[in-house]
Amino acid sequence: MLQITGLTKRFGGLAAINDVTLSFDQGTLSAVIGPNGAGKSTFFNLISGAIIPDAGKVVFQGEDITGLDRAAIVRRGIGRAFQVASFFPSMTVAENLQAAIAAHRGQWGDLNHRFPRQGVRERALEVAEMLGLENNANVLSANLSHGDQKLLDIALALALEPSMLLLDEPTAGMGPEERWRMIEKIQRLWQLQNLTLVFIEHDMDIVFGISSSIRVLCYGRVLAEGTPDEIRANPAVIEAYLGTPDAEDDA
């Protein structure tokens, strides 16, 4: 579904992403892991068009999307959520989602009709329900709890009916229990919406617990890729990143 070849991005002299070649298959739930500064977020930024790669190619559903701008890539079906929840704080949850749906329907430049146009409100509530935000529909998003803000961020991406979803640390800043609630929601979404889902995560229990495949980045390069079992057994990963092998025994 997504093929990345030779992707490279330098900041100054430093290669944040260095000749990365990876692919993600349709319908998979994959994790991208790696120590801090491994280039994970840069990797997402490159795929989603936030920054332009110095070299390499990104092909999505057979189409070369390298160098397209953010909006163009989003419209081709790659949605994303952010490490720090990103939404529209002066709007309620419902308004946030209505705005996203209107944008998805190409109405963002519409100067003729009042916002929201027909059907947008109903669809917004549907999306809110997918993530359990329906009871907060009329709450000002700035006043939501941290966890709900992260959910809203994901909901905004989902409103675009993406075929692929990039989640940058969906559980960042959450307590253990809240994390698992979030992960269950994500897993359910992945199953119900037939998504190809890629997420960055630091919690190894989560990574090894739910992903069907794992990519390990280290200093901008791909250190390893494979199923959780393969990654667990990979000596390079163990050495560079996981530390002692028995740490993840029960995952």
Binding site: A71, V74, R80, S86, R114, P116, L140, L160
Partner: protein, 321 residues
């Protein structure tokens, strides 16, 4: 429901025009009519600026260039050509839109304070051109000699009362149109960009296109304000395109409230009232006005109308950046 809002706004607008039209027969005061005409001109201008500042988060310091362009373009077309008022009006809108497209294309990619200063530089550049192109614009003397052929749809605008009603109609129509714009999905895109430009782009909005569109639209409304002013002062003068005109509009929207649609209109009224009252009371206008501004700014810390809305339990007005 959406439809009802529109009719309600239109009904209020008609009522305002009707009341204003009736006032002079009860209270014949030329000063009042002058006040309303100036208010209409400045309120159109300030509200148009607020589409940029309050709704989109684009703090322009040079919006006065389009107000001034409206006065000069309109006055020049009326004085130097034989076209009708309506033609000159429409052509001025076109000229403003084209200028704003060019200026906007340069400015909108700049960030915050750079955007503010480059828009100001653009205005001052236009001001310099007007001052130095004496043959066309009369230089620092301005375009004197009045506006000929002042008939619009059969109404003679050289009559003070007619111009007064005309200005009120322009204000109401302009406000209704701008209110419609901010209530459309496009208007929502503006708020999305103000709140979180990155997120808006990652939802598929082509940010520069939205910004350029609102820049041009707001310029066009500012130019309408300029034309009303041109009719009022019978010409065009460099003060109408100099930096304080932008300052006045910024002052009006910050005083009135950036978070409320009518904030800039209320702010304009406050500004003009202060102007008229204070100049009559003291020769130290700046001292008095400065102290009043400080009182407002440090006391309320937000616009008057935003303050009232929040006190009445409304939602906190959207922030500006």
């Amino acid at each position: 429901m959406g439809r009802m809002h529109i009719w309600r706004d239109i009904a209020i607008g008609c009522l305002v025009v009707a009341v204003l039209a009736a006032i002079p027969s009860l209270l014949p005061s030329k000063a009042f009519q002058d006040f309303v005409i100036r208010c209409a001109s400045m309120a159109l201008f300030a509200t148009s600026l607020n589409m940029l500042v309050g709704y989109t988060g684009l703090s322009s310091f040079g919006h006065g260039m389009f107000f001034g362009l409206g006065t000069y373009s309109f006055a020049l077309l009326m004085q130097k050509t034989g076209m009708s008022l309506l033609t000159a009006f429409l052509l001025t809108l076109l000229i403003t839109a084209m200028t704003a497209t060019a200026v906007g294309a340069i400015c909108i990619r700049l960030r915050l304070i750079y955007f503010a200063f480059v828009t100001l530089a653009m205005q001052m550049l236009l001001h310099s051109v007007i001052i130095s192109w004496v043959g066309l614009t009369g230089g620092d003397q301005g375009l004197q000699g009045g506006i000929p052929r002042r008939t619009f749809a059969g109404v003679d605008l050289s009559n003070q009362y007619n111009l007064y009603v005309f200005s009120a109609v322009m204000l109401v129509v302009g406000l209704l149109l701008m209110r419609h714009i901010v209530n459309t999905t496009f208007g929502t895109s503006l708020r999305m960009i103000r709140d979180n430009e990155t997120r808006a782009a990652f939802l598929g909005i082509i940010v520069w296109r939205v910004k350029l569109t609102v820049f041009v639209l707001s310029a066009v409304f500012a130019s309408v304000g300029g034309m009303v002013m041109s009719l009022f002062v019978s010409g065009a003068y460099p003060e109408l395109i100099n930096w304080p005109i932008s300052g006045d509009a910024i002052f009006a929207i910050v005083m009135g409230g950036v978070g409320s649609f009518l904030g800039p209109t209320v702010g304009t009224m406050i500004l003009l009232l202060l102007n008229d009252v204070v100049t009559r009371q003291t020769e130290y206008y700046g001292l008095a006005l400065g102290l009043i501004i400080l009182g407002f700014a440090l006391g309320l810390r937000r616009g008057v109308l935003d303050f009232i809305t929040e006190r009445l339990g409304g939602r906190p007005a959207g922030g500006i950046s």
